[in-house]
């Protein structure tokens, strides 16, 4: 496709009279990435000039590194042709969508049933024709629940909306903080995301407000199809608190193989952000065909003194996971936490961990990583603890445990520790263990079959992390681990 053809599409599309979310049939951009595509995306979202410029600048930087994808992670996958991807592809039209659950992969349905997902929601998750509206109603009981919810947040001055909406309604906040934690050219994928990001969440908590409920993308009605290049920005102002939940335990189908999200968190003085993720994208089949490539950049800055950022993640999906939720501990006495459970079964590969960058005095960080490998899965913990010269009295504790199930999987631990002052204390503990025959036999003698016993032992192994999840999320995460372990034994 030539540039002029693209321009024509951009023109036609921008003249289209219906909005972005109401009628999606006509919304698309051709495959490939060039300046026009970036302009198209920005125009479709009716973005201000400064944001378009920001995207174009990102695109310029990315173009220079297009053929220079990082190769240091312990991951093997086919080359990604970035010119063979849709950067603004609407979801499938209703005509292309499956008409009922009968047309859906029975494996997927079995997973839904095992997770106890109601039928209407199953249809939504599986992308059945006309299922969206019904599902939203089913999830929320009625739209009014969500409205009440929004009212309550509004009263407190909390802003919780889609990123695109925030660009229109709160441009000053977006402008101030966008890219302030993850600079555009931070890495290959954040650079790509900065040029073409689709949508995501925006949260702002005003000073001294404790957000009274867990904020979940699930509750954001327009959250469907935030797309493969998600962009989320959360700002907790002085003395505020927020707990944010991302993701869904149900295995989501997605036509886009490449996902490259950027999430930025900013905690001002005395503020606290707790960010929990359950990631369960399609992992591919047993032989490693298909599956999502998930290259995510998540980072938070403890900008103010006494602030705290805590990441908790349960990663069971995707064929390839590349993800290091990190905290920059800039404020004095600030705290960073990273609790992670990552499971790789069959042919899944995960290279995940965290970075804790200690800049301020008396900063502390805690890392608890639980990696589980089964089947032929490969699991790598990669973490950096960096204590800079001014970070006097910094403390870090890292616990990094790997559990192996079977004989064909692998666990790898790559901790980087860089301490630049003598008044700090950094501790790293690591274990690798295997579910023993004796443990399984003991459980089975008590009547628990091998599969349930494995799930039980794995849940025990992960408890320290799972207990950090909000209650209902934790219950779902347990079920999810059981489901993801299927076929790992016997």
């Amino acid at each position: 496709m030539t540039t002029s053809e693209t321009a024509k599409i951009v023109e036609e599309a921008s003249e289209y009279k219906y909005g972005f979310t109401t009628d999606i049939e006509q919304e698309f951009a051709p495959k490939g990435l060039n300046e026009d595509i970036v302009k198209f995306i920005s125009k479709k979202k009716d973005e201000p000039q400064w944001l378009l410029d920001w995207r174009l600048n990102a695109f310029d930087m990315w173009k220079k590194r297009e053929y220079d994808m990082p190769g240091w992670a312990n991951l093997k996958y086919d080359n990604i042709d970035f010119q063979d991807i849709h950067y603004f592809a609407a979801p499938k039209s209703d005509e292309e969508k499956p008409k009922s659950l009968d047309e859906i992969d029975p494996e997927l349905l079995r997973a839904y049933n095992k997770l106890g997902i109601p039928l209407k929601e199953q249809e939504f998750l599986a992308g059945i024709k006309n299922s969206h509206k019904v599902a939203v109603d089913a999830v929320f009981d009625s739209v009014s629940v969500a409205t009440t919810f929004k009212d309550e947040l509004n009263k407190l001055g909390i802003i919780f909306c889609s990123f695109s909406e925030a660009v229109q309604t709160h441009p000053e906040l977006v402008k101030k903080y966008l890219g302030s934690v993850v600079p555009t050219n931070d890495n290959f994928f954040s650079n790509l995301n900065s040029a073409v990001f689709s949508d995501g969440s925006f949260v702002y908590i005003p000073p001294n407000v404790k957000c009274p409920m867990e904020l979940s993308t699930y509750f954001r009605i327009n959250a469907a199809n935030t797309g493969q290049f998600e962009r989320t920005l959360i700002i907790a102002d002085r003395g505020s608190y927020v707990s944010y939940l991302e993701g869904c335990t149900a295995p989501m189908r997605d036509e886009n193989q490449l996902h490259a999200a950027v999430v930025e968190l900013v905690a001002l003085e005395d503020a606290e952000i707790k960010y929990s993720t359950v990631q369960n994208w399609y992992p591919g089949d047993k032989n490693g065909n298909g599956g999502i490539y998930n290259f995510v950049t998540k980072r938070g800055t403890c900008l103010g003194d006494n602030s705290k950022i805590s990441w908790t993640q349960v990663e069971t999906g995707s064929a390839v996971t590349w993800k290091y939720p990190s905290v920059i501990l800039k404020g004095n006495n600030s705290k960073g936490e990273f609790y992670s459970v990552a499971l790789s079964n069959n042919m899944q590969q995960a290279d995940t961990g965290t970075k804790m960058i200690h800049l301020g005095k008396n900063t502390s960080s805690r890392i608890v990583s639980k990696g589980i490998s089964a089947g032929r899965g490969q699991q790598t913990y990669r973490g950096l603890v960096s204590v800079l010269p001014n970070a006097i009295n910094a403390r870090n504790f890292t616990q990094c445990d790997s559990l192996l199930i079977g004989n064909d999987c692998g666990a790898h631990t790559v901790p980087y520790i860089n301490v630049r002052n003598e008044l700090s204390d950094v501790a790293h503990e690591a274990t690798t263990s295997k579910i023993s025959e004796e443990q399984l036999y003991y459980c089975r003698q008590r009547g628990i079959n091998e599969e349930d016993a494995t799930a039980l032992i794995v849940n025990g192994f992960c408890r320290e992390v799972l207990k950090n999840l909000p209650m209902e999320f934790a219950v779902e995460a347990k079920k999810l681990l059981e489901l993801s372990l299927e076929g790992a034994v016997g």
Partner: protein, 245 residues
């Protein structure tokens, strides 16, 4: 209840149990005594269904069904319980939730509904009092960091909660002080009745003084070399295994 016929078992081609015949009737307490390496623990594992043993010959019937083809969990569901000599630790799983999972698995297998959680916990508390166990014992991780005595008491605790038909006690008395031994043997004695059976495997007389078995068999080189009643225990204690070997 349990009938072992012509059982021969080997591990890595070495014969451990050699043409064993043994019957345990309903309501009976049967003790097997024998020196180290005589095949006692192998016997309990073969009855419970542990993998890794070659069954060369013979059958094991439990209430008339040959159980040798059943998985360990199926045997457990039918009412076979093994109190382990070395109970394993499972970090991160509370003792009570493990037990509840076990009980519900068995109930599911037998087509029964899940336990009422509150009733279950009350029963747990009552029983732990009777066994002189602190209730924190219920919320501690399964066997993790338990002392030797606590682990053994926990095996009896599980047994009393699970109410099996056949209880195999594999050296439940090893490493116990006299108080713990008393608690355990009291628990076993109270549970024993005309509807269940006990297979008690031990080196020593002490436990049997409390439990008073109906039958005693002396085991050596994978077979029974002498059978008798409780009096055999005394003879053994006086004269040692050498007398019989």
């Amino acid at each position: 209840m349990l009938e072992i016929k012509n059982l021969s078992v080997s591990v890595k081609n070495k014969i451990i149990i050699n043409n064993l015949n043994l019957e345990i009737e309903k309501g009976k307490k049967v003790a097997i005594m024998g020196p180290n390496g005589s095949g006692k623990s192998t016997l309990s594992n073969v009855i419970a269904g542990k993998h890794g043993y070659q069954i060369n010959d013979g059958q094991i019937f439990f209430n008339g069904i040959n159980i040798l083809d059943l998985d360990p969990e199926e045997r457990a569901a039918k009412g076979i319980y093994l109190a382990f000599q070395y109970p394993v630790e499972i970090p991160g799983i509370a003792n009570s939730s493990f037990l509840r999972t076990a009980l519900n698995s068995i109930r599911k297998y037998n087509g029964e509904k899940d336990l009422n959680t509150r009733e279950f916990l009350e029963e747990c508390k009552d029983l732990s009092k009777r066994l002189n166990l602190d209730t924190s014992f219920l919320s501690r991780d399964l066997n993790t960091g338990f002392s030797g005595g606590e682990k053994k008491k926990n095996e009896i605790f599980h047994m009393l909660m699970m109410k099996p038909k056949l209880c195999i006690l594999d050296e439940i008395d090893s490493g116990l002080d006299i108080d713990a031994l008393k608690v355990i043997s009291d628990g076993v004695s109270k549970y024993s009745n005309e509807n269940n059976s006990m297979l008690i495997i031990t080196h020593y007389q002490r436990l049997l003084d409390y439990i008073k078995p109906d039958e005693v068999h002396i085991f050596n080189e994978g077979k029974i070399i002498k059978s008798g009643d409780y009096n055999l225990v005394k003879t053994l204690e006086e004269k040692g295994y050498q007398e019989f070997v």
